[in-house]
Amino acid sequence: MENTTIIEFHHVKKKYDDDIVLDDVTFEMERGKFYTLLGPSGCGKTTILRLIAGFTEATSGEIFLDGKKVNTIPANKRKVNTVFQDYALFPHLNVFENIAFGLRMKKMKQAQIEVKVKEALQFVNLAGYENREIEQMSGGQRQRVAIARAIVNEPDVILLDEPLSALDLKLRTQMQYELRELQKRLGITFVFVTHDQEEALAMSDEIFVINEGKIQQSGTPIDIYDEPINRFVADFIGESNIVQGKMIQDFLVSFVGQTFNCVDQGMKPNEAVEIVIRPEDLEITPTEKGKLKVEIQSVLFRGVHYEINAIDDAGNNWLIHTTKKVIIGEKIGLSFTAESIHVMRHDETEEEFDKRLGAYMEGESNA
C-alpha cells in the first residue's frame, strides 16, 4: 500500500547564525492535498518550503519525503518541484525549452519530451506557445509556464512560493481557481506559501498558520476561521473583535460586564479567556433589543458591505460588517448568537486545543 503521508517534519529547527527561523516544527502532510503555509513575512514559511525543496539544510530534526529521510539529499535528487515567486524562468530559453529543462536533465528522448511538454502546456492553457520567448509572455502567462515547468516532471510534491503575488487582483483570483482545479486534476500534493489569508481560505484543504517560527494552528479553512486558537490566528485570519473575558462555567462566559451563553466548554471555572466575535456575526438592532449598546464612530463603504467602527460604554472598539446604512454618532444595539462567540484560552497549545475540541465534539454526539 502506498504511504499516505508524503511530507513529514520531525522537530525541525533552523537557525541562521543566532537567528532562530524555525523553532521545533513538527507536522505531516498527506498525499494529494492542497496545503497552505500562511503567515506574515519573516515567519518562517518560506524556510519550510526551502527545506522541503532541499535548498537549505535543517539545523536539527528530521525531514521525510515519502517515508525517506531526506535531510542531506540535494535538491536535484528530490521528487519535488518549485514554482518560484519571481517564476525564475530561464531568459535564454524559449517556452518549450524552459518546460523541457527538467526532462532534458533526466536525459529523456526528444520525442517523449515533445509529447510531455505539449501535454503540460495544455494543462496550463498555453497550447501553441512553444516557440515564444519568455520576454514575449505576460506576467500571467509566465506564471503558467512556471507551473508547467514544475508539473511536467511529475513530482510527488509541488511547492509554490507566493506565486500569485505579482499578479493583479483579477488575474490572481482567476489563477486561484485554476490552481485549485489543476491540483485536483493532477492529484499531486501542493504546498502553497502565502501571506494572503483570503487566498489561503479560498484554495486550501488545510492551512498551517505560522508565526515566529512556530506552527500556531493547522486545520481546514473553516476550522481555523471559526475556531482560532489564539489572538494571533484570530487577528491574522479575517478581521475580529477580541475582548478580554472570563469563563464562568461551561457554556457561560462573561465579558464587557455581562454574561452570555456560549457553546464552549472544558475550561477551569472563572478562567480568564479572550473572546472573538467576527464583524460579520454582529447584527445591528434597535438599542433596546441589543445585547450590547454601542455608539457609531466611523462608517466606511467597502462595496460589498459597510465597515462600521463603534465603541461601547466600557470603551471597547467593535468592528461591524453590515449592509444596513447607519449614521455616525447614532446609538445602536448589537446582537449575536451563542455560536458566534469564540472563546480562546491563553497559551493553549495546539494539542490541548484539539483535545478540548475533540471532547466537546464527543459530548455533542452523545447528547
Binding site: 535528487k77 518560484f84 519571481d86 520576454e135
Partner: protein, 270 residues
C-alpha cells in the same frame, strides 16, 4: 547625450567635426603618403603601390603578423577561460567586503602602468628561468587580459537572478549542468565582450611586450617601433594603413553583431 546638444546643434556639430578631424588627420596623413612614390613624407611625388608590394613580399614581416595574431588569439582564449572562473569565484563570495576587496585587487592590475607590469614580468621570468620569447609574451598577455575579462563578465553574473540557479537545481541539474546550461548561456554576452576586449588589448600592446620579448621574437607594435627608430621608411605607412583598415573592419563587424542583438531584443519586447 544627443538630445541635450540638440539646441546648440550647429556649434556642437562643428566642435565634433573639428575633434574628429584632429584625431583622424595624422592617420589619414600617414595613409596618404603610403602611396607616395617619393621616399619621404616631405612631398608627394606621384602615386605608387610599391610600398604595399614590398610589404607583402616581406616574409619576415608576415611572420611577425602571424605571431601577433597567434599571441592575441591564444592569450585572449586562455584569459577568457581563466577570467570566467575568476569572475565566478569572486561572485561566489557572499560577503560584500571580501567581494569588493577581490574586485579592487583585480582593478589595480587594470589601472597600473604597463611599464611596471612589463618590468615586473621581466624580473619574474628572469628569476623563474623562462626564456624570453613566444612563451613569455604569451604568458604576460594572458596575465594582463584576465582582469579585463573578469571586469566584463562580473556585471552579467551580478545581474543574474540567483533563483535561476535554485530553479535549475530544483529541476534536477547538478553543479556542472547549472554552470553549462544556465550560467554560461546567461553570461555569454559578457564573455564575448571580454574576449574581444582582451583581443584588442593584446593586439595593440607595446609596453609589456617590449619588456618580455626576446631575441628573434617580435610582435607588430614592437616591430613598428624598431622600424621607426631605424629611420622613416614608407613601409611603415603601408603597414599602418593595412592595420587601420583591418581595425575598421573589426569595428564594423562588432557593430553589426551588436545591431543584430539589439534588433532581436527590440523585436522581443513588442
Amino acid at each position: 547625450m544627443y538630445k541635450v546638444h540638440n539646441k546648440s546643434s550647429s556649434f556642437a556639430k562643428i566642435y565634433l567635426i573639428l575633434i574628429f578631424l584632429l584625431l583622424y588627420t595624422p592617420i589619414l596623413f600617414l595613409i596618404f603618403y603610403s602611396f607616395n612614390s617619393g621616399g619621404t613624407m616631405g612631398s608627394f611625388k606621384g602615386f605608387t603601390l610599391d610600398w604595399y608590394r614590398d610589404l607583402f613580399k616581406d616574409m619576415r614581416l608576415f611572420l611577425i603578423v602571424l605571431n601577433t595574431f597567434a599571441i592575441a588569439i591564444l592569450s585572449s582564449l586562455v584569459a577568457t577561460i581563466v577570467g570566467i572562473f575568476g569572475a565566478l569565484a569572486i561572485h561566489s563570495y557572499k560577503q560584500r567586503k571580501t567581494r569588493n576587496t577581490l574586485l579592487s585587487l583585480n582593478n589595480v592590475l587594470m589601472v597600473s602602468p604597463d611599464v611596471i607590469i612589463g618590468a615586473s614580468f621581466l624580473i619574474l621570468f628572469t628569476i623563474g628561468g623562462i626564456k624570453l620569447g613566444f612563451i613569455s609574451v604569451l604568458l604576460s598577455h594572458i596575465a594582463f587580459s584576465i582582469p579585463i575579462v573578469v571586469l566584463l563578465v562580473l556585471p552579467k553574473l551580478t545581474e543574474m537572478n540567483p533563483t535561476l540557479m535554485d530553479a535549475a537545481r530544483d529541476l534536477g541539474a547538478n553543479n556542472w549542468q547549472i554552470l553549462t546550461k544556465v550560467i554560461l548561456p546567461y553570461i555569454t554576452p559578457g564573455i564575448f565582450a571580454g574576449f574581444f576586449m582582451a583581443l584588442t588589448y593584446s593586439l595593440d600592446d607595446f609596453a609589456v611586450t617590449f619588456f618580455v620579448t626576446g631575441n628573434g621574437f617580435s610582435t607588430l607594435s614592437v616591430e613598428i617601433y624598431s622600424l621607426a627608430r631605424r629611420g622613416i621608411s614608407l613601409n611603415i605607412n603601408a603597414l599602418s594603413a593595412v592595420l587601420f583598415l583591418f581595425t575598421i573592419a573589426l569595428v564594423i563587424v562588432y557593430f553589426l553583431l551588436q545591431q543584430r542583438s539589439n534588433l532581436k531584443t527590440m523585436g522581443v519586447r513588442k
